[in-house]
Amino acid sequence: MDAAGVAAALREASGVRVVGGGTKLGWGRPIEAPELSVAELDAIVEHNVGDLTAILQAGCPLATARDAFAAEGQMLALDPPDDGATIGGVVATGDSGPLRHRYGSPRDLVLGVQVALPDGSLARAGSKVIKNVAGYDLAKLMSGAYGTLGVVTEVSVRLHPKPREWLTVVVRRDDPHALAAAASELTHRPLEAERLDLRWDGDAGAVLVQLCGASAPERAASIDGEVVEVDEELWAAQRAAQRGPVVLRVSSTQQGLADVLSAARDHGAVCVARAAHGLAWLRLEAADAELVTALRARLGACVLLDAPAALRREVDPWGPLSAEPLMRRVKARFDPYDTLNPGLLLT
């Protein structure tokens, strides 16, 4: 099925579950609807090496794109977990990994989108050049909308040069507040780190700072920590901790991370966080609605990602939405008959 086929299918459909790689079907409110897959749309349409841009069909696996760009010394700076994830799914869920520190989230790297809308139309917004302000930035609207406003069929993205040399400095602390303070000191320095993460596991934690470039060893010397040259496993573990039996994504601030790390210690959770962005993932072995509610009261906005369907029925996985009436007005214009992932985000 091509993009026009997706649009045509939407026009006829009364309700669809939009699927790419199928790695995040357990996120949001549980829903029942026939699947509409974009997995067949898996081409790399353009890789403009000289321009550091690319156009990918939504079903293109991130791993496939990564290999293709790496062959030219380039990268799409998105490293969320799930090797089977597609670019469309990553954009739709706004998922991100440790590279978020320097390069932002999908919303920051997507230059343009093509979306199939429930009225059967196929619309584009943005462009394939890295600088453009013509028209509304619907790529932002579609990023993180979980396919509830349109089905992303193609995205154009900005690429970056792939670093050739790197290392990671690990700074260990066994107290959440001391750990957060160590991270804060580093986020306020002009390190130009590639990745800058926090980890809490059991009764100890670490700040992980990845530095790239020829001068990385010299710059690492200014940080009081252990230098790890072969660091792939460290970062794989950071990504892996964003998945689990129950995972809450916490939107906090840099200063708020001390509380998030403390909460991890108190509840025996593993926590990974993007130190400069105040974003954290709490991985729990199990949780009930009461715990989710208590964590929200303590930490602020928490989105329940991985969780058994029963829990996602019992407690709102999203929590309170700011400007919800306006979100409903947007939904009503783009998807007036609630065709797309009905009930997943707004009920």
Partner: protein, 484 residues
């Protein structure tokens, strides 16, 4: 304006007599923004002092069914703040307080009238706010939000949209919403992200939360001179292909060098076909490793000379050359028309050739200044506004340049916005289905079409009720507009 007098009385009640301007001569101050080719005197200009007053003003306009336009510093270059003859101009210049400098969390909360430079000043020297439009001394953060402003350092650091994480917005019905916040990835739709760059057509921001970042440890700047912009373009490609991400990489052509030299006196060679200004910033140790490489790449691309700024004073002179380009052009030509199109960087040689050919065809001079890293061209079409028909010819030439850039796979605007100036080119870039999708968003925020109508979209459109039965709009009945 039906019931206009009643509305003006209400506005006076909200903001005080002194802050509602209705006299024609006083209103002329506001007839244009930075794009002087367009001028319209509004019915009234109102200068609220607080977000509450802005909301009350917008609510009063909504109740009266009167359209309005928001204006910050008025330095925009696309006519985005061009007033409406029968509308109210909401001037945000009195909302200029920085409300909170939260350095620990690397956030600043401010009112929309705060200037771009004031944000960096408030968090310096340890931190800065990266998007830096050339007008940053005067332009307001509210205007930057409306236009998703860029600047010379965007190739490395990104645009306004990458730094605004929260907004307080007055919607066109006068209600107030919080979009985003200090935190990232808040649940639900990224309405903050879609508001940035919406050119005042979705509402007006009354509070802006931005991210600030640590100031780079070190900055090094060089300029190199080439036979032509094409040759300089090859150097840009070589630098970027080598994996270097300069803080800024700017190009000026021969005409621009000559004009700027008369103003900034940097002693640059007047016979150079192009000057390439490259600035690297970052950790000192990393700059040591890469800066020489940039000079070598320029030499390999055939430059006649590389000059490295020896100190901050010389660096400022280099930048004065670049930032003087627009005003200095006034010495070369009595009038000029600035374009803002974007091309894929690799299409530079081909597009420049096309521009040269078009300039000859139209018998006009075109000077070129580029943000070379991201392919954002600022061709300045020079003309004599007093010569019969020359302004029209310049406009037509500028239009052809836009079309050439879109045909090369680019965009009609990289940082100035569509406004009134480029809306006629929107159909070159977007299909009817694309424009329909834009309108869906517009209708969700502004179903009555009161916020900055007549901008961005190429033709007037109305919003139907959703969902619900079809009703004919009076304008539609009169054949004045098409229903979306």
């Amino acid at each position: 304006m039906d019931g206009g007098l009643k509305l003006i009385e209400e506005l006076r009640g909200i903001c005080g007599d002194a802050h509602v301007v209705t006299e024609h001569h006083a209103l002329r101050t506001y007839e244009s923004d930075g794009l002087l080719q367009y001028a319209t005197v509004p019915r009234a200009a109102v200068l609220p002092a607080t977000g509450e007053e802005v909301a009350a003003v917008v609510r009063a306009c909504h109740e009266a069914g009167v359209p309005w336009v928001a204006r910050g510093s008025g330095s925009g270059l696309s006519g985005g703040a061009l007033p409406l003859e029968d509308g109210v101009l909401v001037v945000l210049s009195r909302l200029r307080r920085i409300l909170e400098v939260d350095l620990e969390n690397q956030r600043v909360v401010c009112e929309p009238g705060v200037t771009n430079i004031a944000i960096s000043a408030a968090v310096g020297p340890s931190h800065f706010y990266p998007p830096d439009p050339s007008s940053q001394i005067v332009c307001s953060i509210g205007g930057n939000v409306a236009e998703n402003s860029g600047g010379a350092h965007c190739f490395k650091y990104g645009f306004t949209t990458n730094y605004v994480c929260g907004l307080e917005v007055v919607l066109p019905d006068g209600s107030v919403v919080e979009l985003g916040g200090k935190e990232l990835d808040l649940p639900g739709y990224d309405l903050c992200g879609v508001f940035v760059g919406s050119e005042g057509t979705l509402g007006v921001a009354t509070k802006v939360i931005v991210r600030v970042v640590p100031t780079p440890e070190s900055v090094r700047t060089l300029v190199s001179f080439f036979e032509s912009p094409r040759h300089a373009g090859q150097a840009v490609s070589a630098i970027v292909s080598a994996g270097v991400v300069p803080g800024a990489i700017e190009m000026m052509d021969n005409l621009t060098i000559g004009a700027s030299e008369a103003m900034a006196h940097a002693g640059w060679p007047l016979d150079a076909g192009a000057a390439l200004l490259v600035e690297l910033d970052g950790p000192q140790a990393e700059l040591e490793a890469t800066f020489d490489q940039v000079g070598e790449l320029c030499e390999k691309a055939g430059c006649s000379e590389v000059r490295v700024a020896r100190d901050e004073a010389e660096r400022q002179v280099f930048w004065k050359m670049r930032k003087s380009a627009f005003p200095a052009m006034g010495r070369v030509s009595s009038h000029y028309y600035v374009q803002d199109s974007v091309i894929p960087r690799t299409a530079l040689a081909e597009v420049l050739e096309r521009i040269d050919w078009l300039a000859r065809e139209y018998d006009l001079q075109v000077a070129n200044v580029f943000h070379a890293g991201d392919g954002n061209l600022h061709p300045l079409v020079c003309y004599d506004g007093h010569a019969e028909g020359e302004a029209e010819r310049a406009e037509a030439l500028a239009g052809e340049i836009v079309v050439a850039c879109v045909d090369a796979g680019g965009s009609i605007t990289g940082e100035h916005g569509v406004g009134v100036d480029k809306k006629r080119y929107m159909p070159r870039m977007f299909s009817e289905a694309d424009l329909d999708a834009f309108q869906k968003l517009r209708c969700a925020f502004d179903p009555d079409g009161l916020a900055n109508p007549g901008k961005v979209m190429p033709t007037p459109r109305l919003c139907g009720e959703v969902p619900g039965p079809y009703r004919e709009h009076p304008l539609e009945k009169a054949g004045l507009a098409e229903r979306f």
